[in-house]
């Protein structure tokens, strides 16, 4: 099995693991970490496809690789917004619970 196929299969499992964490972990921060793992799974899969596109002396296709750099930066920005939202939620309600609508009492 080639290295890119190995990592592509590994990426499929990473998406599954992240999805599991996203569903079962009750704490929003843990859901965020799980979602990031799911995201990296998608990135690795995309990177394996880039490696498959190697041709004409280039070790990998630079187009998907450049999009990956964009994706990693945007994922960080989205994570930062989510963390800020989460900290604000706790500041406002003293709880990180997503179980019911803690703001409904106001």
């Amino acid at each position: 099995m080639s290295v890119e196929t190995l990592f592509a299969l590994c990426a499929c499992a990473l998406v599954g693991i992240g999805l599991y964490g996203l569903i079962v972990q009750p704490h929003p921060l843990r859901k965020l970490v799980a979602f990031n793992i799911m995201g990296t799974g998608v990135f690795v899969l995309f990177g394996a496809l880039a490696k498959r596109g190697a041709a004409a002396g280039m070790a990998a296709d630079p187009v998907p690789q450049a999009l990956l750099i964009t994706a990693i930066v945007v994922a960080f920005a989205a994570t930062a917004v989510t963390v800020a939202l989460l900290l604000r939620l706790i500041e406002a309600t003293d709880s990180a619970s997503l179980a019911n609508d803690p703001l409904s009492g106001d």
Binding site: T5, G18, I69, L87, R88, S95
Partner: protein
């Protein structure tokens, strides 16, 4: 031998991901995620993506890890309550089934990939000389797919506006985060005096070398932002007020110059973001130089969070 190393890395990656997802303690999970990010950069090296590996280490592992770690510290009190809400056996069984199902579908897709794989390498090789840059990734980011990079810069600014918008009214215009202080003769303060000059040189080198070698503005901006965070955390400098005019100019200068160059292309090359061939390299450099302060400011201020003290003057 290299195949064996790849297999070990893949298994370690899966084990760490599982560990991070099921660990009971949030701090352990986030620490696992940071290590996971570092290991992931090895995967990128193995997949011939040095530029991606640099970005992953700096942003995926480094900045995201630091952001999550600081969040864990402030969320300690909510962890126990959340644990009591954990999913029942039924939900967990359903989650396992769903996850395994999604993984299997993806595996089938991977095994059914066409051979030979579609590739854009020939087009890149053919058109790269016209851009004047030697690093194909930089060529893609700033010439072939520059619209993506423009939108990305705008997304970053919007994300920062989103984070700032979460500030309570009384703190609007103030400074983000706590005012850090540390022993002025301690290790942290020493590190914060010694490291930044080296970090700034490395950051600017990565920025300049990015035209022809792995590196570029994102990796460079992350290192520069990290140096700034270090100086802040050692208490040697404070985070800027978010109503500071220069901070705001620095944040929008990148996207504005990018759009201006794009509009110029409409007139000189007949397409938005088109470059006349003789001026491709100088125009790309102009965009990169303008984007650098935007990226450094936005990345650092995203780490800082919404303003939390010293509101309107």
């Amino acid at each position: 031998m290299t195949a064996l190393v790849a297999l070990v890395v893949a298994l370690l990656l899966l084990w760490l991901a599982l560990w991070t997802v099921v660990a009971r303690d949030a701090f352990v999970a986030v620490a696992g995620f940071v290590v996971y990010g570092l290991l992931l950069s090895l995967v990128w090296v193995r997949l011939a993506g040095i530029d991606v590996a640099l970005t992953e280490v700096a942003i995926g592992g480094g900045l995201t890890g630091a952001l999550l770690l600081s969040a864990v510290g402030r969320l300690r009190s909510t962890e126990v309550a959340a644990w009591s809400e954990r999913s029942g056996a039924g939900t967990r069984a359903f989650a396992v089934l769903l996850s395994v199902g999604v993984t299997l579908v993806l595996v089938l897709c991977v095994l059914a990939l066409p051979d030979p794989a579609p590739t854009l390498v020939p087009q890149v090789v053919q058109n790269l000389p016209a851009t004047g840059v030697g690093n194909p990734i930089t060529g893609v980011l700033l010439a072939f797919r520059s619209l993506d990079t423009l939108l990305e810069a705008i997304v970053l600014v919007i994300a920062l506006i989103g984070v700032w918008s979460l500030a309570p009214d009384r703190f609007w215009g103030g400074r983000p985060g706590p005012r850090y202080s540390s022993d002025p003769d301690g290790n942290l303060a020493y590190l914060a005096r010694v490291l930044p000059p080296i970090g700034i040189v490395i950051g600017l080198y990565l920025f300049w070398a990015g035209a022809d070698y792995p590196g570029g503005k994102f990796q460079s901006a992350t290192i520069l932002a990290a140096m700034w965070m270090l100086v802040q955390m050692a208490g040697l400098a404070d985070a800027p007020r978010i109503d500071n005019r220069w901070v705001r100019v620095g944040i929008v200068v990148g996207p504005l110059v990018f759009v201006a160059v794009g509009l110029l292309g409409l007139w000189t090359a007949g397409a938005f973001l088109g470059y006349p061939e003789a001026f491709a390299k100088p125009l790309i450099l102009t965009i990169e130089v303008a984007l650098l302060p935007t990226l450094v400011l936005v990345l650092a201020l995203l780490m800082n969070g919404p303003p939390s003290r010293g509101g309107a003057k």
